[in-house]
Amino acid sequence: MHLTPLTRPLLRPLQGVGRPAAFHLHGALIQCCSLLLFAVPWLNGGPTRALSVLLAVFGMAAVVAVLSPVLTGMQRTRFRDRLGVDIPGIARPGRGAAPLWEQLLAGPRAERFWPQARYHLVFGPLTAAAALGALVLAVVSVAAVTIYVWIWALPVEVRLSQAGYSTLAAYVTAGGAGGLYAAVWAVKALARLDTRVALSRLGPTPAERLARRVEEVTESRAGVVDAADAERRRIERDLHDGAQQRLVSMAVNLGLAKVTLTDLPEDARKVIDEAHREAKAAIQELSDLVRGLHPAVLEDRGLDAALSGIADRAPLPVRVRVDLESRPAPAIEAVAYFVVSEALANVVKHARASRAEVTVERIGGILLVVVSDDGVGGADESGGTGLAGLVKRVASVDGTFSISSPVGGPTVVTVELPCAP
């Protein structure tokens, strides 16, 4: 339909009322189900005296309350299908949501039983009634707005009155328009209100929601950490299988040329010699870089073997003591390796130390990594050295990092990583 610029702003408030309307109709259906329960005692005549009527009503209310897990399930479906709102299940502390039959058996002892019962007995029916009222008002308003159409279209003998094109019809049209805007606003507002209340009554409490969110975040962070580790391993493998082999093969060929091409002129020999040296230097540099990523031996033989390699390549004497009965998780091993590798690189760069010491041990559920040196001290984790990256990497697995580095030394980096005992 082509809307002129004038009618578009008039129609805008009416847009998007379809989903909430369907949502309320669905809700009314669910409320009818529980209303039918209330009608059960009267199927065969039923009680008529005040007391027995009261008893019957209360009895049926109790039945509805007991059935509230089932009703909650229905409501959850309604919110998801009609509005796309997900009401999370109610998890028991430290476990997932209980299965339906268990909740039914638990009765009033079930997790968050009373808020659910209150919703199904009080708030749900009231909202459904109000929403139905609003929908009826909307339908009536549409009829009123289009009164001129009825006047024009219906044959004279069917018309209710001979109002004709009177001013009354104009009032009716205006009233209908007002009613329509009010009804649409009410339908949308009631859907919002219902969503808010249902989320707080039928879902977990805010504290539970927060706890669950923390769980999710922790899980996803572990996933990110693992993914980063896997990526490092992949890069290491790619470099090992690609560039490193190519460089070695180039150096081998140059070495062969040096040995076999003895009758070359002096300057050509010099060029080959130079290229050979360069290739070997490149191999060394690349090896050191790749080694820092994730050495194969770490996966293969664990921290002790991998750390002895780092210690050996360090240009100062490093003592390594790794005291572990069993291997920690791969992610923890990778972080521990990275800590030692970075810390030693820092020692070499800044500390002017004559020796360093690395110890790794497990104390209960903690993997304790200590890197110390006898250098000049004055290291500072905010100082823009490699320490900042170290702190982040340690935090990514819920570890703690501390550094003691008085001016004049010694510097001691202590890292605690959680690991199952």
Binding site: D241, R246, V252, K280, S287, V290
Partner: protein
């Protein structure tokens, strides 16, 4: 002398074949992984096996494990392992038991063709060739101790000894006379309470045993 090569990088395999042929070996077979290597050794019974440590499918220590199988089944076969990184653990695995005809070198050593050919011949003849990096890692493991009593020069000599060099080789490397080397070695053996021995490999064996891997 017949050799079998195992290396998953085709480029490097070609280079290795050239170097081995330059050294006077006949390359009987080339393999791309540990399984093919074992099959080739069973078929050709070579005098020497040159193998990469990291090979498919796992890319960890396949070469080391294959080497151990070869040493067990065909003890007379010399094995030289090459690796991007030398790890003392692998060296320790390799050197338990019989250390004759065992080599473990960084891959890039192949580029120093003359030294590498020297190492090839030494291993094929039943000697030992250990990368200086392995030796220093092994030394790193032994902190306590008589090793601290060695002078830096004596440590250097010990490392060269452990990597399988002869007195002449050590003398050439350190640019000293052979008699000076012999004196260093006597001092070392005295300081470490090691029995004096003549043959190269027995000397290495003694050193390695001292390092805690032999």
């Amino acid at each position: 002398m017949r050799a079998v090569i195992a290396e998953d990088s085709v480029l490097l395999r070609v280079g290795l074949v050239k170097v081995l042929e330059a050294a006077g070996f006949e390359v009987a077979a080339e393999a791309g992984d540990a399984e093919a290597l074992l099959a080739a050794v069973a078929e050709h019974r070579p005098d020497l096996v040159v193998s990469d440590v990291r090979m498919p499918p796992g890319f960890t220590d396949e070469g080391v494990r294959a080497a151990l199988v070869i040493r067990r089944q065909w003890p007379e076969t010399a094995v030289l392992l090459l690796s991007q990184y030398v790890e003392e653990r692998y060296a320790a695995d390799l050197l338990t038991g019989d250390t004759r005809g065992v080599g473990y070198l960084l891959k890039q050593r192949v580029a120093d063709v003359e030294e590498f050919i020297d190492a090839l011949r030494r291993v094929a003849a039943g000697g030992t060739a250990l990368d200086p990096q392995v030796v220093s890692q092994l030394l790193l493991r032994r902190h306590s101790d008589p090793l601290d009593r060695l002078t830096p020069r004596e440590r250097e000599v010990l490392e060269l000894m452990a990597s399988g060099r002869s007195n002449a080789g050590i003398a050439a490397q350190l640019v000293v006379s052979e008699s000076a080397v012999a004196k260093h070695i006597n001092n070392i053996l005295a300081k470490l309470d090691l029995p004096r021995a003549d043959a190269d490999h027995r000397r290495v064996l003694a050193v390695l045993r001292f390092l805690g891997v032999g």
